[in-house]
Symmetry: C2
Subunit: 340 residues, 2 copies
């Protein structure tokens, strides 16, 4: 069983505090929607699916404290603000709201809990399905070495993860020789989260600076790169954590397959091309400080894009819960999304 | 005038403490060869040329305290140990020793100083020549954007630097639009040293995490990558700070020239191919800790190669003090080395 980022015990939501990992494993007990909202805003929990599931349980607690339509709408509005760009946050809040607002007030708490648990269970099932479809891409009985980037793991979802879910399934099948994790500057999700969750679950993992990936490719040991995605355009272009494109270009040169594992909810069929996905610039401090410690000259200009775009022609396959899309992605992705 | 990493005042050697940059500019006054040896070993000064020049002045101080053949040989032996893999260290010590051991004891101190100053002045001149040859590769009157990696700057030499020397010359000619510096994990020489020395000298510099380089290439703003080298094989394959190969692969995909600036002393004609250059693995702590602060799980396995190899086919030109070598490098490099 994989570690879990969040636990609902019927009364409160428990979240592992991801800001303190890997040095401390602290669980926070959140008994109100306001507390969950603050925790999402403060990055106690991150990863689009995990944020969505947390917000769904926040709506259960909101209904429990005030199940009136006015009260629920106020809570939904407040929660939506805490990370305005996170698509899954608004999506989960809206889904619970729409389900319960049509019911009499006295039925709303129970219905909210049913809906939140459904969202969690669907995410778990999607992770498990992606893991199977992804692992099926490799020869049965082989021993493979996989490079991943950032954290597309259990800590980012309610299940076993997207990219790391595929790796877990390979491990369960006895096919995983090694998982290589790039540390993923500036936020170090690879070092802090992926390495930690892999070790928790007994996966053979090796950590490295992002600069070492070229050298690793040169050793010809890699069987695939498997990463998650923040957003996928209709043409198969992928926005993911900055540094993903660097790995895709290296994989192309070394004839290593580049796989993206993401649920169909990540696919935005309204965006025709990956290159039109807007890229958020984040604060300079993320680059100039590590844990409050300054590592660069005061006042230096900083380029800090949160994501980059990997164009479709560098992607070998996109692994979804409904199956694997192959190029040309315009058709294959649309067909898998229709199944959703 | 560029900042300087070391100053000889006729009595003692002054070294800027590079371990404390960019937060503090501390100069250490070193009055004995033992102190200089310790400073080299403790990484107060780094960069092959700067280490060589520091060691040469250490031999002046050794001669001043004991100019006997036995005393000088003992000092030379001790100094050689402090960073046994640094080629320039042994080279500079041997050059001063050979020059003075043939002289009567009373002439040795003065001759050592002449030789050490010659080594320093030759390094300065080589930097200046590389800078001119490198800047000549760009259209006069153009405004260029250059990406560099690690620190191949004034802090690594006795002059204006190798790769950063080229950038300084472009700036002096009014041709530099922007220098982009990758932070260069794990040791962060880009963030700590290159960004600092560029700002000291008024160069327009932007710092970024190494992961952001792919995104930067995607914006099509770069005119060249210019890096230094730790060792160059006869075929033109280059060992340089880990992460250099990643940039070379990106540069190739984006049709951006990949230039290497290094003195001919870096070329090892006895090594036929870049791929045969041995790569040092360094300690896991460099990846798992930053400034003593842990950023990864205890006990995680780490891959930490200090360098990588960029094969000759990815290098557009090698800039030396004797001119610019173009592919095929077997002939062009040999010819430039013959001039040395």
């Amino acid at each position: 069983m994989a570690i879990e980022a969040l636990k609902w015990d019927g009364e409160v939501l428990w979240l592992i505090d991801q800001r303190r990992l890997p040095l401390e494993e602290t669980w926070l007990k959140l008994g109100s929607y306001e507390e969950i909202g603050t925790a999402i805003g403060d990055l106690v929990v991150r990863g689009a699916p995990a944020i969505g599931v947390s917000a769904a349980f926040a709506m259960v607690l909101a209904a429990r404290s005030d199940a009136s339509t006015e009260g629920l709408q106020r809570a939904a509005g407040q929660l939506r603000q805490v990370r305005p760009t996170a698509v899954n946050l608004a999506w989960a809040i809206d889904r619970v709201s729409q389900r319960i607002l049509q019911l009499p007030q006295e039925e709303r708490v129970a219905a909210a809990e049913v809906e939140a648990e459904a969202i969690r269970n669907e995410d778990r099932a999607a992770c498990a399905a992606m893991a199977r479809h992804g692992a099926d891409l490799f020869e049965p009985g082989s021993r493979v070495q996989i490079l991943t980037h950032c954290n597309a793991g259990a800590l980012a979802t309610a299940g076993i993860g997207t990219a790391v879910g595929v790796v877990r399934e390979l491990h369960a099948r006895g096919c995983l020789e090694r998982l290589w994790a790039g540390e993923t500057r500036p936020i170090l999700q690879g070092a802090r989260l992926t390495a930690w969750e892999a070790m928790q679950d007994g996966l053979p993992v090796t950590l490295m600076a992002d600069t070492a990936s070229g050298k690793l490719f040169s050793t010809d040991c890699l069987d695939a790169v498997v990463v998650g995605a923040d957003r996928i355009a209709a043409d198969g272009g992928v926005a993911n954590k900055v540094g993903t494109y660097n790995l895709a270009v290296l994989a192309d040169r070394h004839n290593v397959p580049m796989y993206v594992a993401a649920p169909t909810s990540t696919v935005d069929l309204n965006l025709s091309r990956g290159s039109s996905i807007p890229i958020e610039q984040r604060s300079a401090d993320e680059v100039t400080e590590i844990g409050g410690q300054r590592i660069a000259p005061l006042g230096v200009e900083v380029f800090n894009p949160a994501f980059d775009i990997t164009p479709a022609e560098l992607i070998s396959a996109i692994i979804t819960e409904n199956g694997v899309a192959r190029p040309p992605f315009e058709e294959s992705l649309r067909s898998l999304c229709r199944k959703a």
